[in-house]
Amino acid sequence: MNDFSELESELKKLRPAKPSAELLARIDAVFAKADSNQTTDPHLYPLPQGEADAERQVRVTHSSGDTAKIIHPTRFKVSWLSLGLGLAAAAIFLIFARVGVDRPPKRTPITQNTPAPATRSTIASPGFIPAGATQVVYHTRDEGLHFPTGYDEPMRRVRYQKRETLQWRNPNTGASLRVSYPSEEVVLIPVSGQ
């Protein structure tokens, strides 16, 4: 049971002071002023100051006592200038893309691998068979143009840093062995002069 029910009923007997008639008149005047500001459509109400810049007006229709609000944001109007600029940008992009497609680079990569670790050969013990190998490139660095000796044309040197993982499995015992090590690969890509 509520211990405060008596106190609550006493509190509810207290009546808050009523708003002055002046307040009612002021609110009435504000709404009346809003109405007088309407232009062609009597159901259009401008929003209060500070919200008017939201580029919208609220259309209020009263039908059968119901109030419906339809917001007509002007930002959805088509801006022909923006549309034209957008199309021009798209056309320029397509032209450059086309140029790129027409001239695929002639690449004959020459690779230089770091030597594989010695574990690869020593692991090949009896009973273990290769079960898988993965190679994950985690960093690629373009080191720019180089002129290696013995080549007539410049080469672009690209360095790949990878992690290779080799896995073996012994089908007899079910044992598995996995070796993971970092590796690095340098690729020299001939650069066409045309």
Binding site: F4, L7, E8, E10, L11, K12, K13, L14, R15, P16, A17, K18, P19, S20, E22, L23, L24, R26, I27, D28, V30, F31, A32, A34, D35, Q38, P42, H43, Y45, L47, P48, V58, V60, H62, T67, K69
Partner: protein, 163 residues
């Protein structure tokens, strides 16, 4: 004409909620005129957006927000905030239409409540908001609102007990 100025709905709503809103606004300002300014701004703003009062929590949150804005932007901000949150400063004018001495004592005891408790009490007793609505308006949990309400009643009961 079917428009806001001639539509009587807002007057019906205001006659129902006006006194409670005014009392609620008086939590922050001592002057009834300031409270009426707050209520006017909040009600007009709310009504223009909604054209009905189906979200009372939002209406009271609007009043609260405008009241706090008024306190902050007013040149007498420091003094008003000190008054509003002092928790002991009595109102300069009565907030209730008291009929007898016991009601006057009760109103005075309400006025002495800590601000957070008085705020919830006003919303619950004289505006008949649910704890969920109070929580939503004050941005506190429903349980916190209920706790503050109980603390307020407890404090009132204690203060009203004969010494």
């Amino acid at each position: 004409m079917e428009n806001v100025a001639n539509h009587e709905d807002w007057k019906v709503c205001f006659s129902e909620y006006g006194p409670g809103l005014l009392l609620f606004a008086r939590q922050w300002v001592r002057s009834p005129a300031d409270a009426e300014d707050i209520v006017q701004e909040a009600f007009v703003k709310f009504w223009r957006r909604n054209h009905r009062i189906d979200n009372r929590a939002l209406l009271y949150a609007t009043v609260r927000s405008i009241a706090l804005d008024l306190i902050r932007r007013d040149s007498r901000r420091a003094r008003r905030e000190a008054e509003a949150f002092s928790d002991v400063a009595p109102s300069s004018q009565p907030q209730f239409a008291v009929e007898d001495e016991s009601q006057r004592t009760l109103a005075a005891a309400v006025d002495l409540l800590p601000h957070e408790q008085r705020e919830v009490l006003v919303m619950k007793i004289w505006n008949e908001l649910t704890f969920a609505e109070i929580g939503s308006a004050l941005e506190i949990s429903q349980n916190t609102a209920a706790s503050r309400y109980r603390y307020a009643l407890s404090a009132l009961k204690k203060n009203l007990q004969p010494q």
